[in-house]
């Protein structure tokens, strides 16, 4: 019940917002904030009460929904989902606060869409029925489309459509694979979308789902759907456009949560349900055995090099996301405890850190009305606090030990090195290039002589600090004491590794 409440309270909030008069903007904002704070409180409650020593799903609700197809409203959380739910619930109010001043038109519609988006995201991370999973997956698509397409920058139409069609293309393949799984799950009447059941069936010797060929194709179908979201090269080109055009808060959600939906899907469906398919792409032998790790490597190096070439601050951060998600892929491809733990940690940390980065870009954009890196210079003398927070975020993102980014990255690499020596060593190029583009940006924006154009640039204000502080604190806390997060999903990872090794 707690879980369902958490998922649907933003939806209630949406209705509430829609019922409010258009003119009372302040009220709309406050109501929205309230309806994002409640899920946060519930997420914290879940975080506290979650039984860390149990491997299975908790807070399970399982009621029949569309019985004709044996579809259930089946939700529940394990360590991975509770971590991402917390991240989603945390970014919710932060994004509302970040949107407080700089959404100029249609604030009511904006907030309503945002709340709908949040329900979609929360539901997605809790769903345990493939059909429900898919519904929530799609539910995030349309609000996002409008949020970019209406409140975005000059090329918002193009970016929104590109995002929409790209994701739709992926999710169609996913739908096909999903139906294939459903049809193969048993005799007519005994078919199911239930994820735990499907996982058990897929592990049963002789079952249709246990067939290697089937697993490979189903894996591919889901994989492409998720790869678009992650995004994995070459399905990534929607991301820079979407980020550049999206308003600040939407970029935060995009990088912080939507990308994680892709990697979450890979873990929840591809790895758990198709361990043989996973094995085919990750066993380190043959033409295909290195393919997933190779994609991770390409993401890291390609994303980093592309980021180095950017002069648009936001585009740089967008490409850096591509690079950082590569570490997640590499860690998952390793299929061992270190790799998967690293990958999950990296998902969470990337959500926090990239959230900070996009908020910081927004702070600057709101003041200077452009994002051209070469157009600044010397801001460090003018805005010391802003510079300090940016330095913290950059350092976390480039993987400085002591901050959270390092732990996830290091564990992913450590795990991957065990399986893919050469690719992992080559991936470390990304670590150097990552430092290069962040430090170069730091220099161009903050160091050197102050650009006289920005003599009067005001320092970061209290509201902006309020959005950044929780994320900054998390970055430091998780850097010093990563067990704080790992405790949540240690058992789930062990469980998953067992599934992966059972084949």
């Amino acid at each position: 019940m707690l879980l369902s409440l958490m998922i649907f309270i933003p939806l209630l909030g949406m209705i509430a917002v829609l019922l409010l008069p258009r003119e009372s903007e302040e009220l709309v904002k406050r109501v929205t904030l309230l309806f994002t704070l409640i899920p946060l409180a519930l997420a914290v409650a879940l975080f506290i009460s979650y039984d860390r020593s149990a491997a299975g799903t908790q807070y399970v609700v399982n009621i029949p929904w569309i019985q004709a197809f044996n579809i259930q409203y089946h939700i529940g959380i394990d360590g991975l989902s509770v971590t991402l739910l917390l991240l989603t619930a945390l970014l919710g109010p932060i994004c509302v606060i970040a949107s407080w001043r700089n959404i100029e038109k249609g604030i009511k519609a904006y907030m309503a869409l945002f709340l709908l988006l949040e329900t979609g995201m929360l539901g997605f991370f809790a769903a345990l029925d493939l059909f429900l999973f898919y519904v929530f997956f799609e539910l995030t698509l349309l609000p996002m489309y409008f949020l970019i397409g209406v409140w975005g920058g000059p090329r918002r139409e193009y970016a929104a459509i590109k995002f929409f069609l790209y994701t739709l293309f992926g999710s169609v393949l996913m739908l096909v694979a999903m139906i294939a799984v459903y049809l193969n799950s048993g005799a007519p009447g005994a078919r199911t979308f239930d994820i735990p059941t499907l996982i058990t069936l897929a592990a049963t010797e002789g079952h249709a789902l246990n067939n290697l060929n089937f697993q490979i194709w189903a894996f591919l179908g889901f994989f492409i759907g998720f790869a678009v979201k992650v995004p994995i090269f070459p399905f990534h080109t929607w991301l820079p456009d979407a980020h550049v055009e999206a308003p600040t808060a939407i970029s935060v959600i995009l990088a912080g949560i939507l990308l994680k939906m892709g990697t979450y899907g890979l873990v929840r469906v591809n790895m758990a349900m198709f361990p043989q398919g996973m094995d085919f792409f990750c066993n380190g032998t043959g033409t295909w055995g290195n393919s997933l790790a190779l994609l991770g490597f390409i993401n890291i190096v390609y994303g980093s090099f592309c980021a180095l070439a950017q002069t648009d601050f936001k585009k740089l951060v967008a490409y850096s996301s591509i690079g950082h998600m590569g570490f997640v892929i590499l860690g998952l491809a390793a299929r061992n405890t270190e790799g998967i733990t690293g990958a999950i940690l990296q998902m969470f940390n990337h959500g926090v850190i990239s959230g900070m980065l996009f908020l910081l870009v927004g702070v600057l954009y709101d003041r200077a009305h452009h994002r051209e890196i070469n157009g600044f210079g010397g801001l460090g003398a003018k805005m010391p606090v802003y510079t300090g927070i940016t330095t913290l975020a950059f350092m976390a993102s480039l993987g400085l030990p002591g901050l959270s980014g390092f732990v996830g990255e290091a564990l992913s690499l450590l795990g991957a090195y065990d399986k893919f020596k050469m690719l992992t060593i080559l991936s470390t190029i990304g670590i150097v290039v990552g430092a290069a583009y962040f430090l170069w940006t730091l220099q161009r924006v903050f160091l050197g002589t102050l650009n006289p154009k920005y003599e009067a640039l005001p320092e970061i204000n209290g509201r902006e600090i309020l959005t950044l502080a929780p994320l900054g604190i998390l970055t430091i806390v998780l850097g010093i004491w990563p067990n704080f997060a790992i405790d949540m999903f240690r058992e789930s990872v062990t469980n998953l590794v067992n599934v992966l090794q059972a084949i």
Partner: protein, 736 residues
Amino acid sequence: MVVLLISLILLCPLAAFAIFGLLGLAKRSFPRQDYLSTAAMLIALVCSLLLLQEVVPDPEPHTVQWLSLGSVTFSMGFYLDSVTAIMLIVVTLVSSLVHIFSMGYMHGDPRYPRFFAFLSLFSFSMLFLVVSDNLLGIYIGWELVGLCSYLLIGFWFEKDSAADACKKAFLTTRVGDVGMFIGMMMLFTKFDTLSLYGEGGIFAQAAVQLNTGDMIWLSIAGVLIFCGAVGKSAQVPLHTWLPDAMEGPTPVSALIHAATMVAAGVYLTARMFPILTETSSLVIAYIGGITAIIAATIAIVRFDIKRVLAYSTVSQLGYMMLGIGVGSYVAGLFHLTTHAFFKALLFLGSGSVIHAFHAMHGHGHDDEHDAHGHDHDEDHGSEHVLGSEIPPDQDMRNMGGLRHKMPITFITMLIATLSISGVPFIFSGFWSKDAILAGVLGRAMEWNSVHHYLLFGMALFAAGITAFYMFRLIFMTFFGEPRNQEMHDMAHESPKSMTVPLLVLAVLSFPVVNTLWFNADYVKPPEQPHLHAPAHAHVSPDSKVGEAGLTFSLFGISEAVAAEEGADGTHGAHGDDAHHGHGPAHTIAMVLSIIVAGLGILLSWLFYHRRTLSAESVATTFRPLYTLFWHKYYFDEFYNGVLVAVTVWKSRLFAQFDGTIVDGIVNGVGTVTRDILAVFVGVFDNRIVDGLVNRVAEVTWSIGGRVRQIQTGAIQTYLFVVLAGIVLLILIFRAL
């Protein structure tokens, strides 16, 4: 007690920084951050001194579980042996003195509190590195000191040269760090742990493995870990960042870029001593030897007082690496400690000189910002050298005759110079340098190894050059006639807060701390299996090492060195023959080192004081060689012109590929789809496609870039459709 003391040592500076950081969020700062940071450091110093008594032989690490992943755990912890204890004292002592010095030197700087906060963060990170018992902890401290170095080099970030220098320092060391990380991954994959000590630690496991052969991978891992040290300790080929790091305030140069952080590489290499194989040791020794020579030769032709010292630091660090590479563990670390004190003194002394010239402008350090870009390179005006623009207050060609103006600075710097030059017996530097030389020669004689004879030659050569350029610095700065009368007139001795640290460090440049190393039982070199490998047994059946020889028992230094040599040379348990003297290697090395130091000083005197010899004419005679030194062997030209350029070019290529090819395909597919859909939509009247579907078609329609406003009104419609859909779903749910 140990845990408590170490925790205090770490927490005090960390707290001093945290207070600054937290207040910073509220846009405030603690009014006396300088007192806070200095007090924190002094407490750490006291605790470090107390820790000296807590050292026990073969200590167990104090660990806590840091990361637990189910099957794998990583722990963090402290390891306190004699080397840790000595390092703690060196770091806290130099740091305390630098804190005090900075109160005078940085006085009036607009970011004065921040400077002390960064010093605190640095001290914490460095101390964390020193006490860590595992590679992960060392790596964390390692990167954090790198961050502090970055922040402090770029402290005056308005200067473009400082902004460039701090970025360069971070990136160059990161290249080495990546190598170190790969080495750590190799070790982890093999040993399933990153802890070094204790049962199940890397050393315990490696000791077993080393006896079973199969060492190639371990050699590679050792060299990779050493890569980190190459970056941090500015060894060739990653040394170029350190001279540029002189853009930072001078106290920073003294603390970070002379005494502590750059020595961390040596410390790490020493920590990894038990797993260094013969091959990796030789690589380390060669890198050290080559660095010692390259840096020393560059130092001869520099005019910037701080750059001379920077190259000198690089060179001396190479010396220490060489010592460890030939198995002289104690000698390498011994030189680290003596060097920390006299080099910190030299830097602070140079800071005192720079400060003396500052007063002529009557205000803080703003002039140092402006100074950049003034071209004082009259002699070499036509030859632009990367990073060679010298601020006038650091240019030795503006100095001269300062000894009367600044007697304390002069005397203390002279003591440090005598020490680093290896003037015999009464200066600490002599003993530590001699210990390394003796170690190299001893190894060469014992193994009859050409490599080690060559290395000895290199070390000896570098020692001579060191004496030469250090006295060149002293003569140019403090002797002769003032070259720039205007600046000279304004010069004055520095305030007490600055001269007192100089005096303390000067005392430490005499062999007072050495007693720690002299007690042969206090520091024991760890076992390094290949030193006792039978492969070398046959070459030295009648090795002279271990025989009774000439003993200088002044302060007992010879005993420490002898203990080491004896242990290595007799292939057996150390300590037993510690007090039975040593072979001729030590004597020969000592005599030769005194000769080269004397020669170096003599030549320097002839060139720069008596002026019997002319530096200019020698430079003309050996033009190509001089040009090579002047251009610092063209490392910067190569890195900037080739490596950086290629990287940037490659990134542009990638971005262009991404924009035109990958995205081009995407847009192409989009256009084609749109055209097909156009036919589709043309056939089936789009008016029958209603609501949401209509929207999607329209959306598809406009992909080519036809701009069409999405109406906010449509969203209201859309949201109600969604709501209706949800209601419908609930109804279905109820019905079925």
